[in-house]
């Protein structure tokens, strides 16, 4: 067992973990962060994507012991002050999800993508999401959502826009 200190979704945790425990299992089994899911065992599907110190990682390819001293954001910590993140809102507005299993990872990756390129074209979005698989949507509405979010996250637009849906509200 190794002791780690980690900030997850704004809360600090100190835990003893086995060296072989994957970050995704630590999040799900130890912290109850079941919003982050496991979709494969070869790091192909991206369903478990979270942010590690502000960058997206597949949490199945990181050991829990590696995140000692780090800050993790999961899908559950994305909304701020009761407001959905613009990417969450865009996924809802553009019907970018059906079963929703890939959605947490897809949203986390999409936010990271806009961090690299705040104004991407369609092809850039498609390539930026290549490591995240969805079986329901055919990706068209996911791409549309990411482009929509990119537009709404531009500083000039953000200043004017209406507040997004309240978390947990009947949207």
């Amino acid at each position: 067992m190794t002791r780690i200190t980690v900030m997850v979704d704004g809360v600090s945790y100190v835990d003893d973990v086995e060296p072989r425990t994957l970050l995704v299992h630590y999040l799900r089994d130890k912290l109850g962060k079941t919003g982050t899911v496991v979709g494969c065992d070869t790091s192909n599907c991206g369903a478990c994507t979270v942010h590690l110190d502000g960058r997206s990682v597949k949490s199945c390819s990181v050991f829990a012991v590696q995140v000692d001293g780090s800050e993790i954001t999961t899908i559950e910590g994305l909304a701020r002050d009761g407001q959905l993140h613009p990417m969450q809102q865009a996924f809802h507005d553009n019907h970018a999800l059906q079963c929703g299993y890939c959605t947490p990872g897809m949203i986390m990756q999409a936010i990271d993508l806009l961090g690299d390129n705040p104004d991407p074209d369609e092809q850039t979005v498609r390539e930026g999401l290549e490591g995240n698989l969805c079986r329901c949507t055919g990706y068209q509405n996911i791409v549309r959502a990411v482009l929509d979010a990119a537009e709404k996250m531009k500083p000039a637009v953000r200043a004017q826009q209406q507040p997004s849906t309240v978390v947990g509200g009947g949207i």
Partner: protein, 819 residues
């Protein structure tokens, strides 16, 4: 009581954003694998690494000695030797059915079959324990090739059956009286085209791996499962495992996709139940992705010999379909019936006077097959749309023009086909006209001519698919005639709550389709209540006591209609109460937008006021029931028949074999649309899966019978970067066989798109002499086909070119897919 304003805007047809999303985009989800119960144990399955072998010994000592291991069980240990997993479809009286125990008893019949289970305190220990179980095998010859399996002297998968032939199922229009004799039609034909097509083996690859939790500690045993079919699972678990049906509760919580892959009663569900009962503690099993690809049921896998007869002027005169369909090693829930679901669809939208269909179902030592999106109908649509292109090529005709010549004209509906189905409605001309306009058919043909004349290395092809499908499974009398083990009805009930809110309970079981939103819209409209006031409940047999679940594009056309009919019963009950409240006769009342009004006056009561009156029932006359709650079980009178025209423009790089979809246009007619946003999403997702069959996906076995596409690195579920933008549009010809006019949309995209893409690929290289490329049309296959055709053109005048097999996108393995 909450004050409520009656809505004035019509809900049907409105692009409502989904209710379901709120939880899914914030991670407040309830997947089966999220469930954790006090004292819960973990189960994992020891699987066979061999396709066919005698089990000569299982040593569990080392596994049992590991920390955290509470038990290791074989079939014998669990008393499971006599259990056989259910197959609900005895397609012929003499169909051969092997015993299908949840764990192999003395012989394994496919690589990935369970041999033993381990039970541990935590998930990680379970994986360690699986590695420590030592199983000794005496290898047997694998049975991989379907035709070889049918030959005399073939190694038998199940020697006790005496054959590898599961069944021969035949439909003949001459015998059925629905058409002529196809052999006569072929003899009399001016032109006959015969082709062999291969439906490769596919894997449903839903994103949420299967998972099951069984809690045996209550009065009712509770099973949570990532299933499409909680009701069927409950009934079958009871019939198969000897549990009294009223002692089982099944819950499908959030379920992450299914596509037919979770239309099953699985070995692991049975095992979790047996282990939980034995241990007296809750037990969880969650598969890895590799296990899912290896051991969850596969789909498709047919050899299709198609013969089409026609006159020189292009009029089709007969269609003969001879299938060999791979069942895999065992019959699962509807395995043998999958090809039969296509039997009535090969003739599609065309007016064939004679038709014969024969499916020879065969056992092999591969993973069992069963439903995968479209189930039988994609296979049918692919074959007919491919052979229509082949006929057009033989006749030197434009393939669209040939289709138009032969399809059912819109004024000919209702039309009874040569397969005996009555298509109630449709307008193929309208859908095609719209698609051609969006696609610029004539412009792209001109571009194609230009590239051919210039001998451009990147050629352009245009692929057409004008499809129909039978949806809304299914009229119970038809299922009875096909010897299916259940009916095809669906159930709904509506609870009117004291505060005027509404609970709709549906027997269908969504796993991504958006039923909560769509059903809310339907019932809000019918009862005249706000959309937000409707809650849709499903997927728990304690709440939704009756249902037949979700598959076959049935939910809306059968389950949605059941909900409408239940709502109509609520209104009739409410009318009696309203008449009492308003002291008038029922006949004097109009019910408009949620309000009963006395005709010619503005005196009235809202449905919410009536509901409250029924709740209090203080002054109800004797005999008036103090409840508006109602239910309805709806059995459809006919299938529904969505149709549409899909057009694909594909570029083929003749130097690399790379296929790029340049444009994809589809115009689907799914009848009346409840929510266009959801419909469009279903079409787009369906297209992705159909295109994936055409270009990327294949479950490949090596010569030893091992699945070599057992991870998502090898089995090529397409990513966003692999797929094009789709142009989707609709025409709306309402179904005439249900009060909503709906037809179903879940499978349309998948059914239609595969032949559109393959026809486009072939159209791009046909002038080079290529006449067939097996799916998936991966770069290596396409490149080899072009090379072979060019070589053949140089050396001989022979134009027929069959292609070597190749893996999917990015594969460099030329050996794949030969089995």
């Amino acid at each position: 009581m909450t004050a409520t304003t009656q809505p004035t805007e019509r809900e049907l047809g409105r692009a409502r954003r989904r209710k379901e999303d709120a939880r899914l985009i914030t991670g407040r989800t309830r997947w089966t694998d999220n469930i954790s119960l006090p004292g819960m144990l973990y189960m994992a399955v020891v699987r066979s690494p061999l396709a066919h072998a005698k089990i000569t010994g299982i040593n569990t000592d080392a596994a049992k000695a590991l920390p955290g291991v509470l038990g290791v069980f074989t079939a014998a240990d669990l008393g499971a030797e006599g259990i056989s997993l259910p197959c609900a479809w005895q397609i012929t009286p003499d169909m051969k059915s092997p015993k299908a125990p949840p764990l192999a008893v003395d012989t394994v019949h496919f690589a990935g079959e369970g041999v033993a289970v381990v039970v541990t305190r935590d998930a990680a220990s379970a994986e360690d324990a699986v590695e420590a179980v030592q199983v000794e095998y005496d290898p047997l010859e694998p049975v991989l090739d379907m035709e070889a399996a049918l030959a005399d002297g073939a190694t038998l998968v199940h020697p006790d059956l005496g054959t590898n032939r599961n069944a021969l199922w035949v439909f003949d229009s001459a015998e059925a009286g629905s058409g002529g004799d196809v052999e006569q039609a072929i003899r009399d034909a001016e032109i006959v085209v015969k082709r062999r097509f291969r439906q490769q083996r596919l894997i449903p690859a839903f994103m949420e791996p299967r998972s099951v939790v069984v809690d045996p500690t209550g009065e009712q045993l509770t099973m949570w499962s990532a299933t499409q079919v909680p009701h069927i699972l409950k009934t079958m678990a009871s019939l198969t495992l000897g549990m009294p049906e009223h002692k089982v509760r099944v819950i499908a919580p959030d379920v992450g996709g299914g596509f037919g892959g979770k239309l099953q009663v699985t070995p692991e569900e049975a095992l979790a139940l047996l282990v939980a009962r034995r241990m007296g503690k809750p037990v969880k099993w969650t598969e890895t992705r590799s296990e899912s690809l290896l051991a969850a049921h596969h789909g498709r896998d047919q050899i299709q010999d198609i013969t089409i007869a026609a006159r020189r002027d292009g009029t089709v005169t007969g269609l003969k379909v001879e299938l060999i369909a791979d069942m895999g090693a065992y019959l699962r829930l509807v395995t043998p019936g999958i090809p039969i679901l296509g039997a009535f669809m090969f003739n599609s939208i065309y007016k064939f006077p004679a038709y014969r269909f024969a499916s020879t179902n065969v056992f092999t030592t591969k993973t069992p097959t069963d439903a995968y999106r479209g189930a039988g109908r994609p296979e049918a649509t692919f074959a007919i749309e491919r052979i229509m292109d082949e006929l057009a090529a033989e006749l030197g005709r434009d393939p669209m023009e040939l289709r138009e010549q032969n399809w059912i004209k819109h004024e000919e509906f209702p039309f009874t086909t040569v397969a005996g189905l009555t298509y109630d409605s449709g307008n193929y001309e309208a859908a095609t006209a719209k698609a051609r306009e969006l696609f610029d058919y004539d412009g792209l043909r001109a571009e194609q001519r230009r590239r051919r004349e210039a001998d451009d290395p990147v050629q352009l092809g245009i692929g057409i698919s004008t499809y129909t499908e039978m949806c809304g499974l299914a009229p119970s009398r038809v299922l009875g005639a096909l010897s299916y083990g259940a009916g095809g009805w669906e159930h709904a009930s509506i609870r009117m709550l004291a505060s005027g809110k509404v609970e709709v309970v549906t027997g269908v079981s969504p796993h991504g389709q958006g039923h909560e939103t769509a059903w809310s819209q339907i019932i809000a409209d019918r009862l005249g209540v706000p959309f937000e006031d409707v809650e849709v409940l499903h997927g728990d047999t304690q709440i939704s006591s009756k249902g037949l679940d979700t598959y076959g594009s049935r939910s809306l056309a059968v389950g949605g209609v059941a909900a409408v009919k239940a709502a109509d019963k609520v209104i009739e009950k409410a009318r009696k109460v309203a008449a009492h409240m308003l002291e008038c006769s029922e006949a004097d009342l109009d019910f408009i937008q949620g309000k009963f009004t006395i005709k010619g006056t503005n005196r009235g009561v809202t449905i919410q006021e009536v509901t409250l009156a029924a709740f209090t029932s203080h002054n109800f006359p004797e005999g008036m029931e103090p409840s508006l709650d109602s239910d309805y079980t709806f059995d459809p009178e006919n299938f529904s028949f969505p149709h549409g025209t899909h057009l694909c423009a594909a570029e083929v790089d003749t130097e690399t074999g790379w296929v790029t979809i340049q444009q994809y246009v589809c115009v689907d007619d799914v009848g009346t649309v409840v929510n266009p946003l959801i419909v469009e999403g279903q079409v787009q997702g369906g297209l992705a899966q159909g295109i994936a069959q055409a270009l990327f996906e294949e479950a490949i076995y090596d010569e030893g019978g091992n699945l070599v596409t057992g991870t998502l690195a090898d089995y090529l579920v397409p990513s966003a970067a692999d797929l094009p933008h789709f142009t989707t549009d609709r025409t709306e010809t309402p179904a005439t066989t249900n009060p909503l006019g709906v037809k179903g949309v879940g499978e349309a995209g998948t059914i239609a798109s595969t032949p559109a893409v393959v026809n486009a690929v072939l159209d791009a290289v046909r002038h080079l002499g290529v006449t067939n490329i097996d799916m998936p049309c991966a770069p290596q296959r396409v490149w080899r086909a072009v090379q072979a055709a060019r070589g053949a053109a140089k050396s001989t005048s022979e134009h027929t070119t069959e292609t070597a097999a190749g893996g999917g996108l990015g594969s460099i393995d030329a050996q794949g897919g030969t089995q």
